[in-house]
Amino acid sequence: MNLFAQALAVARKDLAIELRTKESLNAAGSFAIVILLIFSFAFESFSDEMNEFGGGLLWLVFAFAGALVFNRGFARELPNECLDTLLASPLSAAGLIIGKAFANFAMLLVVELVSLIVFGIFYGIDWLSKGAWLSVVFALATWGVSILGAVFGALTVNLRLRELMLPVIIYPLMIPLLIAAIELTNTVLNQHSVSGQMEWIRVLVASDIVFTTLAWMLADAILVN
C-alpha cells in the first residue's frame, strides 16, 4: 500500500467519523458564522472598503476555525489507544499525518464554503463570479494550513493544554501562508488580475511543498515516543 493510498484510507476513516459525530464541523462552522456576523455589525457592510480587508477578515476566521478542526484530528485517536494501534500497524507515520491533513483539508474547505456564503450575504460581496481564482487561492492556502495543523496536532496530542498550545504554536508558522492568502484574496475580490501577484502564488506553492516535505520526513520522529 503506497503512501497516498494509506493517507486516503486514514482520511476516509476520519471523514466517516466526522460525518457521524460532526464534532469539528459544528464547532468550526458555527464559530466562523458567529465571528463573521459580529464583524458585520462592527464594520460598514456593503461598502467598497470591504473589498480591501475582506480577505484579511476571511483568513482570520479560517485560521481560528481551523484550530478547532486540527485539535480534533489526533485527539480522535486517543480513546481506546487507537494511535498506538495505528503506529504499530504497517501504516507509515507519514501516511497517518498526510491522511490527517487530507481530512483537515476537506473539513476546512466545507467551513470556508459556509463562511463565503455568509460573507456574501452579510457583506454584500459577489465572490461567485470570481470563483475560479478564489478556488485556486483557497486550495493552495488551505492545504498549507491543513498540513501544519496535522503536524502540530500530532505534536501536541498528548499535552494537557493542547487546545491552547496548538494555536500558539501554529499561528506564527502560518504567517507567510496567511499573508499570501490575504493578499491574493483581496486581489481577487477587488477584480484585479492575479497575474500581477504571482509572487504570492509562489509563496503558497513553496510553503505547501516545504511543509508537506517536512511532514513526510519527520513523521516518524514526531509520532513515535
Binding site: M1, Q6, A9, V10, K13, A16, I17, R20, T21, P79, N80, E81, C82, D84, T85, L86, L87, A88, S89, P90, L91, S92, D220, V224, N225
Partner: protein
Amino acid sequence: MTQAIALDQVWKFYGDYAALRDCTLSVQEGSCCALLGRNGAGKTTLLRILAGLTTFQGGAVSMFGEKPRAEKARRQSGFLGHGIGIYEDLSAAENLHFFARITGSADIRSLTTTWLERVGLTRVASMPVRQFSRGMRQRLALARTFIHSPKILLLDEPFTSLDDRAIAMLSELLVEARQRGATIVLSTHQLREALAVASHVALVENGRLRYTGERTQEMLDDPSLLYRLHTDLGAPQ
C-alpha cells in the same frame, strides 16, 4: 529454528529512571513467550519497544532481522495493547474494513465478513461500536489484531478483564496462531493462564530479565515457583 525476535543488551530510560536494564532475549519462530512480572516491572515497555511504539537508548532489537519501526516488521506483527484500539463511532464492519485495508490485506470485504462471523458479531456488524457491550468490544479487538494473520503477535495483558467467551476465543486464536507457525510474546501477571499457553517464559523484575527459558511442568504445577527462585521479592501472595 529461526530467531524471530532478538533483544540485545537493551536499555530504556524514562528521564533518569531505567525502565529496562541490559535486557537480552531471544524468541524463536513459532514459540510463545510469556513475559511475567509484577506491575511496573517493565513488561509493557519491552512490548512497546518490540511494537515500535517507543525508542530505546542502548542495545539492539530486531524482528526477523528488521528494526521494529521497519515497515516489513510492522507488516508481520499484530499488537494488542492495554486499549482495544477500535473506533467507537465506526461500526464493527467499518473498523475491521479499515484495519484490513491499512495492513494491506487482500480481499478485504470477505476477510471482514469472515472475522465478523468468527467473533460472533455478524448480527451487529453495522452497529456503532459505542453501542456494544464490553465483551463485544473485546471480541472485535481480537478480530482487529488477528485479521491479517500476523507472523508475530505482541499482546499486552491480553487476558485482563476479558469475559469467559473472549478468554475462550483468545485461547483458541492463540492455539491456531501457533499451529500456523506464528511467534507470540504476551505479557501478563496472570500466571496460570499465561503458563498454560506459553512454550517459553521470561521473568522481568525492576527492568531486568531475571530468568528466560522453556516453560516446564514444575512451573505449571506451581506457578509461583519462578518468583520464589528468581526474584528478590519472593512469590506473589
